[in-house]
Amino acid sequence: MLRPMWREKTRLLLTVFAVALGVSVVLAIHLAGNAAAGSFQSSMETLAGDSDFEVTAAGGVPDNVVGVLAQLPYALRVSPRMEDHAMVVSTGHTVPLIGVDLVGESNDIQGKAAGPLAPDALEHLTDADSIWMPQASGHKLGDHLRLLINDHEREYTVRGLLPSSGMSVANRYILMDIAAAQIATAKRNRVDRILLKLPEHSGVGIDEWRTRLRAALPAGVEVNPQGSRTDANRRMLSAFRWNLQILSYVALVVGAFLIYNTISVSVVRRRHEIGIVRALGADRRLVLAAFLGEAICFGIAGSLLALPLGRLMAAGAVHLLAATVDALYVSSRPGSLALTWGSVALSFVVGIGVVIASALSPAREAASVSPVEAMARGQREYSAQVHRSRDLWIALVLAFAGVLASQPPAIAGKPLFGYLSALLLIAASAMAVPSLVYAVSRAAAPLLHKLLGVEALLASRSLTASLRRTAVLVGALSTAIAMMTSVGIMVGSFRQTVVTWMDSQLPADLYLSPAGDPAADRHPTISLELTDKIQKLPGVSGVDRFRAYEIVYQGMPAMLASADTKLSRYYRASGFLSHRSPEQVLGTLQAGNNAIVSEPFANKHHVKAGDTLSLALGAKVEPFKIADVFYDYGSERGTILLDRSVMLRYLPDPAASNLAVYLSPGADMEMVRQEIEKAASGYAVLVFSNRDLRSQAIRIFDQTFAITYALEAVAILVAIMGVAGSLMSIVIDRRREFGLLRFIGASMPQVRKLILVEAGIIGILSNVAGIILGVALSLVLIFVINKQSFGWTIQFHWPVAILLGGLTVVYVATVLAGLYPARIAQRLNPIEVVHEE
C-alpha cells in the first residue's frame, strides 16, 4: 500500500497537501471563530463574579431601582454596574469601561489587588479621575492615562492594579467607581446593569425568585439570569459563524474530488496486482481495506499537517473575523487562539472522514473486480466506464430536487434547506459534468485541431477517452470556480445594493460622530451643547439627531433608535418594503406609538407592517405598531426606529449618538465644515462628508467579506494542485503514448504543448461548468441562504470585472499547473516507455 504511494512522491505530497489545506481552513475558521466569539463573551463579563440574575432596561436602569432591590426583605447581594467603552488615546485601543460601587466593594477590591495599592488609593477611591487596571495591562501605579469617552477626552490616574486572568481578553478593561463612570459616560441617574446574587440555601427555586423580583420592579425593567446577554450575542452570531463554517468546508469538498481521483487512479494502476492477491487468496474485504487504508494515510498525514497550517491561518483570520463582528454585531477583541484537544479531534475527524467518504466508491469498485478480469492485460490506461446518459438523468433529478429544496423556510433560524439545495446543485453539476466534457470535447475537437494543431486534437481525444478522470478533475475545479463565482456574484450584488441604498439613505451633507472605534453595539453620545451650537451655525439648515440604544428584544440584541423624522429627508420611497412614500410612513411615526423596523429585525422576529411590538422603555412596557419595514444594510442586529419626540417621552436623554447636518442652499461645504470643527474644538468628534461616510461604509463592507475571498482562494488553490497532480498521473499513465509520439516524429515542444492544451481544455470546461453552477448557487446564496440567515434583500447584479478577473486568474493558473507534468512528459525516455510491456 505504501510503496506505490512512495514511488510518486510529488503526487503523494500534492494529495496530502490538498487534504491538509482543506482541513486547515476548517480548523482555522473554527479556531478563529472561537477566539473572536470568546472575546465578547468575556469583555463585559469581566469582574461580574458569580451572580445569579442581571437587571437591565432599555436606555439604562433608573438608579432608584438599586435602592428598591436593596430594600427587599431578602439577603440579596446587589451590584450595580456601568458598562461602556473607552479609547486609550495613546494606543488607540478601545477597551471595556466598567463602573462598580468601589466603596461598597472596597474590601473585596483590596483583597483582589495584585500588589500594593497606591498609598492614597482608598482615599481617592471615588475620585472622578481614579481608575483601576489589570496588572497585565503593563501600567504602573500612578500612571496617567488619557481616555476618550463619548466625545470627551480626560486624564485619569491608575490607583491600583488587579490580578490578571489567564485569558488575555479578560485583561483588557478599565475599572472605576460607579459614580465616576456615570459622569464620564454622561449617563446620569442610570446604571447599565444590576447584578444580583441570591442568598444561598434559600429553598426557593430560580423561577420563583425571578417572579418575586419582577413583581418588585417597574414594568420596563427586565430580570434575566446572568449571562443572558452573552447568550443573546451568541445566538445573534450563530448565523454568521454557521455560514462561515459552512463556507470553510468548500475547500474540503474540492479536496474530496481529488482524493476520489487519486484512489481511482490507484485502483486502475494496480488492477493487475489486485488480480494477483485475489488469486492468492485475499478476499474482497482485504482489497477494500487496502485502498481505504491508502486513503486514510492521506487523511492522517493531511490532518497532521493541517494542525500547524490551520493555527497559522487562524492567526490571520481572527483579525478579519473580529473586525467583522465589531462592525456588524458586537464589540469584540480577538481572544487567544487555543489549539485544544477538541480542535485536534476536529481536524482528524474531518480529514479522515472526508478521505473515507471520497475513497469508498473506488475502493468498493476495486474489491468487486474478479481475479481473472483484474489480471487481464490491456487495462493500463484509465478506461473506467462512465454511464453518461444515466448520470445526466440523475443530474436533472438532483437539480430539480435542489430547486425544490430552496423553497422551504429556515429551521431554527438556519437555512438548512438552502444548504441542502446548494449541495444538491453541486451534486447535479458533478453528475452532468461527464456529458458536458464529452459533448464539448467531441464538438470542439475539429475546431481546436484547426486552431491549435494536432496537439489539440490529441488532447481533446485523450480527455474524452479518460472521461471519468477528466470529469472528476473538471468537477473539482468547477466546484471551486462555482464557489468563487457565486460568492463573487453575491458579494458584488450585495455591494451594489448597499451603494444604491446609501444613495437614497445618506442625503445629509455632513455627519458627526464621537471619535473612537466604531462598533455595532457601541453608541457613545455627542454633548447636547455642541449639537445646539452646530444647529445655530451659519450655513446649516437643519440637524438630524440620531440616537441609538442597545436593547434585547425577545432574547436577541437589537438597536432601538430615534431620528427627527420631521426632517423627512431620510427614507425615500425605495427605502420601504411597501414602497409607500416617506411622508405617509414617517407621518405616522410622529403621531403616536408607531415604529418602523429594519428588514433584518423583521426577519429575525418574524414581524411585518401592522404587527405590534412590546417595547420596554425606561420603567414602562409600551405597545408600538409597526408602520412599515425599511431596508437597512447598516447592521445585521436589527433596528427599531421611533420618532425622536416619541423616544424622548420614554427615555428623556436628549444627547444624540450621531448628527446629520444639512446645509442651506448655496452654503459652501468646506466653510461650514471648518465652522463645525471650530465649534467642536474641545470635543472629540469626527466630521465626515457624505463621501467620506460612504467610502468608510464600503471599506467596512469590503473588510467584512475579505475572509470569504481568502476561503475561496484556498479552494481554488486546492483545485489547481489537484489539476497538477492529476496531469502528472495522466502523463505517467500515458507515457507509452508520449514515447510513441516521439518515435513517429513528435518534437519535445509538441509533447509539452499537448499537455498544456489538455490543461487548457480542462480549464475551459471547468470555467464553463463553474459559471453555470456558480450562477445557480449565487441565486441560492442571495435569495435563500442570505435571506434566511440575515434577512437582507439583495438585488442581483453581475460583477463582470471581478468575475472576468477571477476566471482569468484561475484559467492561467490551470494552464501553468500543466507545466511541471509537461516537463515530466518531455523527459520520458521513448525507448523505455514504448518497450516496457
Binding site: 490506461e381 494543431g453 494536432v454 486534437l457 490529441l458 481525444r461 485523450s462 474524452t464 477517452a465 507509452r736 503514448e737 510513441l740 509520439l741 516521439r742 518515435f743 513517429i744 516524429g745 513528435a746 518534437s747 519535445m748 509538441q750 521513448p830 525507448i831 514504448v834 518497450h835 510491456e837
Partner: protein, 242 residues
C-alpha cells in the same frame, strides 16, 4: 551556371553509392546500478536502399537496441551510425525530430496505435505532427495500399490484430521513409496473418526502394530476406545472404 567543384562532385558520388544505413564499429553500453552492460558490441553493418535485412537471435541479444540505434532513437557509446551519410550522434534534437519525420518509419510488435484516434487519424498522425498540408489524402493512399481504406473511420479496437499491424505499417510508411525499422512485427500475430504482414514489408523494400530492417524470431523471414544477420550477446555472429 554554377558548376560544382571536383571535391563536391566526389562527395555527391560517395553519397549516391554509399549504403543508406551504415553502422560502423558500434558499441552501446548501459550502466545499471554502477555496472556497465554492453547491449551491442562492435557491430558493423551496411544496408542499402531497397534491401530487406532480418535481424535474428534470442531475446536480449541486442536486436531492439540495434534498431533504436539505426532509427536515431538511441546513440552509440562508441563507433557511429550513419543515415544517408550523416552521423546520428552529430544531430541536435530538432534535427533528429526532422530525421524521424522524413526518413525513418517504425513498426512495433504490439502495434502501438493510439486507441483514441480513428484508423485514418492514426495513419495521418506523423504527417500532422510534421505539419504536412494534404495529410488526409496521403494517409488514405497508404491505407488503400494496405487494403484497409474501407476501415478508415473505425477505431483500433474494432480491428483484428493483423489489421492493426497493417494500419501500423501504413502509418510507418505514410511519409515515405527511406528506412523502415520493424521490431518483431509478427510477434503478436498468427502464422497466416504474420505472412500477410511479411509480404507487405517485402513489397515496401522492393516497390518503394526503402531499406527494411526487421528484428524477428520468425524462421519464415529468413527465406524472404536479402540479408540475415544472426546476433548473439550483442555481437553479429553470422551474416547470410540466402
Amino acid at each position: 551556371m554554377h558548376l560544382p567543384s571536383p571535391v563536391a562532385v566526389a562527395e555527391i558520388e560517395d553519397r549516391l553509392t554509399a549504403p543508406l544505413l551504415s553502422l560502423e564499429d558500434v558499441t552501446k553500453l548501459y550502466v545499471n546500478e554502477g555496472q556497465s552492460v554492453s547491449a551491442v558490441k562492435q557491430v558493423s553493418l551496411a544496408v542499402a536502399a531497397g534491401e530487406f535485412v532480418a535481424l535474428v537471435g534470442r531475446s536480449g541479444c541486442g536486436k531492439s537496441t540495434l534498431l533504436n540505434l539505426a532509427g536515431a532513437m538511441d546513440f552509440p557509446t562508441s563507433g557511429q551510425v550513419l543515415l544517408e551519410g550523416t552521423s546520428t550522434s552529430s544531430l541536435n534534437d530538432r534535427q533528429l525530430t526532422r530525421l524521424r519525420r522524413e526518413r525513418v518509419g517504425f513498426i512495433f510488435q504490439s502495434f502501438q496505435l493510439l486507441q483514441t484516434l480513428s484508423v485514418i487519424e492514426n495513419v495521418e498522425l506523423p504527417l500532422l505532427l510534421a505539419g504536412v498540408a494534404n495529410a488526409r489524402a496521403l494517409a488514405m493512399e497508404r491505407l488503400a495500399w494496405v487494403e484497409l481504406d474501407t476501415y478508415a473511420d473505425r477505431l483500433p479496437h474494432q480491428l483484428s490484430g493483423g489489421q492493426m499491424q497493417r494500419v501500423a505499417i501504413a502509418r510507418a510508411l505514410v511519409h515515405a521513409p527511406r528506412l523502415l525499422l520493424a521490431d518483431e512485427p509478427t510477434g503478436n500475430l498468427d502464422t497466416t496473418t504474420g505472412d500477410v504482414v511479411l509480404e507487405l514489408l517485402r513489397r515496401v523494400a522492393s516497390e518503394q526502394k526503402a531499406a527494411v530492417v526487421m528484428a524477428t524470431h520468425s524462421v519464415e523471414v529468413t527465406a524472404i530476406a536479402d540479408l540475415v544477420v544472426r546476433m548473439r550477446d550483442g555481437e553479429i555472429a553470422e551474416m547470410v545472404r540466402p
